[in-house]
């Protein structure tokens, strides 16, 4: 089984949520935290990609190339990615991004228009980029059409091709159908990017993995356009539950969201729902009413709430055994 490669797009798709106002310092901090969590690829920049800073999409707070440079300097392991939409960004923008340290480019077109990516994909390959072909609004193309367009991107030199659910409109069956045919008929790895507009982001991501996708996108806390993307930390948790191999660390990806991203978002007046604590119940298989009790016990004994929940799961606690949580917390504190 191959590793699932996670691309975190908090700093790119998530830019939409802060109207593209992330500062260079915000970028540096968040990249450091994601890198620490061993996320494979970190995408940065304006929500609409290179040169997306416009009247039409909103102007960025920080010059995009400075953000790319800061990200590349902050990442010790992760590769830094940029997005390019032909018709908006151009090859000279790619040259600049490459010079600033970007190693991956995702070249994105509407699902029926892959041929406008030819020059950008082939030029990016010449520059030494790892190139991802990104077919947006995949729900607007049949599986056969997605395949036809994906084959074009593969023929231009794309190293990976994504079926991208930009509208969050696909249901798991539609994801499986599109990813399945790509997996079967393309030689390059297949990726999936979700939006949670119908509440299906993580389920669709899992459907994509089961259909053969090995590149999956997430963003911390699910930050992103519309209802956002699959939450990266939830993706890590679900991959572990599903027995999939990945490099990313669960606790550190949660920390990246709660300890690093949340304070940054607060300064931009954005608050995300607190999904991380309940997520742990699902991860550990623990009765849902345990959450508030475990948090109280964690506070009382100064231990990590998550470790209490995981231990309760390991001990196979059943509904009604809230009393065990204090005991576990006390034991953990003593260790």
């Amino acid at each position: 089984m191959s590793n699932i490669i996670i691309t975190d797009t908090t700093l790119r798709d998530g830019s939409h949520s802060v109207r593209h106002q992330f500062s260079v310092e915000d970028t540096r901090r968040i990249v450091e935290a994601l890198d620490e969590a061993q996320i494979d690829i970190i995408e940065v920049g304006h929500g609409d990609g290179l040169a997306g800073s416009t009247c039409n999409y909103g102007f960025s707070a920080a010059p995009e190339i400075e953000a790319v440079r800061a990200a590349a300097q902050a990442a010790k392991r992760a590769k830094i990615a940029v997005l390019l939409l032909p018709g908006i960004g151009t090859v000279p923008d790619l040259v600049q991004a490459r010079e600033a340290g970007a190693a991956v480019v995702r070249v994105a077109t509407h699902v029926t228009e892959a041929d406008i990516s030819h020059e950008h994909i082939s030029e990016a390959k010449k520059m030494g980029f790892f190139v991802v072909g990104f077919l947006m609004m995949a729900h607007r193309g049949s599986a056969a059409r997605v395949l036809e367009e994906a084959k074009k991107m593969e023929s231009y030199g794309a190293d990976v091709v994504y079926s991208t659910d930009s509208a969050g409109a696909l249901l798991p069956d539609g994801v499986r159908e599109r990813i399945g045919i790509l997996r079967e008929r393309l030689s390059v790895p297949i990726g999936f990017h979700s939006h949670n507009n119908l509440g299906l982001a993580i389920g669709n991501s899992l459907a994509a993995i089961h259909a053969g996708a090995t590149y999956i996108d997430g963003s911390l806390g699910g930050l992103g356009a519309g209802a956002g993307n699959t939450a990266t930390e939830m993706l890590v948790a679900v991959l572990e539950r599903a027995g999939q191999k990945k490099k990313a660390d669960l606790f550190k990806s949660i920390d990246a969201c709660v300890q690093v991203l949340h304070p940054v978002l607060e300064r931009h007046g954005v608050r995300l729902p607190a999904i991380q604590d309940p997520m742990m119940l699902g991860f550990a298989g623990v009765y849902s009413s345990f959450m508030l009790h475990a948090k109280r016990a964690a506070k009382r004994f100064g231990v990590d709430y998550r470790s209490i929940i995981i231990e309760a799961g390991r001990r196979e606690a059943v509904g009604g055994q809230e009393d065990w949580l204090y005991e576990i917390a006390r034991e953990l504190a003593a260790q």
Binding site: P86, H110, H118, R140
Partner: protein, 296 residues
């Protein structure tokens, strides 16, 4: 036929065949020759119209019609035009370059078609988006001083040919340059979107102008007059949205122009191809009138 100037077309593809129909309506242009580099339905269409047509390219045109043809439309490719220009220029044939080669100056009839422009050996037609947006930027710049212009042109997918698709950077960069050099914006950006909706959409162009003098009355008047000028040679031009201030607190003027094609050879939803052809006909007719007056 002494009151008409003889013209030729190089490249009998979609653009070339649409031009054939437009030329046949012109009171001052007479189509004398159409050439391509292979036998094609476009050449056959020309013959059906009683026009001399050949697959032997620019050489045939210059050899057989070098003396009588005074204006040529080049609807080949950037590369093709560079070669064609080497033959047309020594023959003294005024050339309308509909390719992205841009060896000659950009010409947008509503903005900079004047005597001096007509004396050039050739002029370039910019891009369809440039023809649709530059006039409005120039008009608003004259009354409000545009320091940043940005255009978003949406084209129906079917109307964007392989040439445009393979060179989309060239398309956006050429349009941007025209917005600055011809439109007069200090800085500009041009974006292009392809939309595959069925039935196809009309070409739509949203134009943002960041202006130093926010005088909406003057801006609206200038835009209205500009639209009238454009409609004199592209009747299918209309506002989707007359100028508004996008945000009352800001300096961003926003308007949108839709182009419905004449439906000559190409369907009305290919307004992008229609506008560049219609603009080139406008220039050719101005040149023809000048030539005819010169003779008289």
């Amino acid at each position: 036929m002494t009151n008409k100037v003889k013209v030729g077309i190089i490249g009998p593809g979609n653009i070339g065949q649409d031009l054939m129909i437009k030329i046949s309506r012109s009171p001052v242009l007479e189509l004398a020759c159409v050439v391509g580099i292979v036998e094609s339905p476009g050449l056959q269409r020309a013959r059906d119209m009683g026009v001399d047509a050949s697959p032997d390219g620019v050489d045939y045109l210059v050899q057989h019609h070098g003396k009588d043809i005074q204006i040529v439309f080049d609807a080949t490719s950037a590369k093709g035009h560079v070669e064609n220009a080497k033959r047309l220029s020594p023959a003294g044939i005024f050339t309308l370059d509909l390719t992205p080669a841009a060896l000659g100056p950009y010409c947008v009839p509503a903005v900079n078609l004047d005597e001096r422009m007509l004396q050039k050996p050739e002029v370039n037609m910019v891009t369809c988006a440039g023809q649709a947006t530059t006039p409005m930027v120039a008009a608003i710049n004259r009354v409000a001083d545009v320091y940043y212009a940005e255009t978003v042109s949406s084209l129906s997918s079917f109307s964007a040919g392989p040439g445009t698709r393979a060179n989309i950077d060239e398309f956006t960069q050429t349009t941007r340059t025209a917005l600055e050099k011809v439109g007069g914006a200090d800085k500009a950006r041009a974006l292009i979107i392809l939309n595959p909706a069925e039935p196809p959409i009309y070409m739509s162009n949203t134009i943002y102008c960041r202006v130093r003098h926010v005088d909406m009355e003057a801006i609206t008047k200038a835009a209205d007059e500009c639209l009238d000028t454009m409609r004199s040679y592209v009747p299918g031009c209309r506002f989707r949205m007359r100028p508004i201030l996008r945000d009352p607190e800001d300096d961003i003027v926003m308007l949108a122009v839709e182009v419905e094609g004449a439906g000559d050879y190409l369907p009305p939803t290919a307004g992008n191809l229609d506008i560049i052809n219609a603009a080139s006909i406008r220039i050719a007719e101005a040149k023809a009138r000048q030539l005819l007056e010169g003779k008289a």
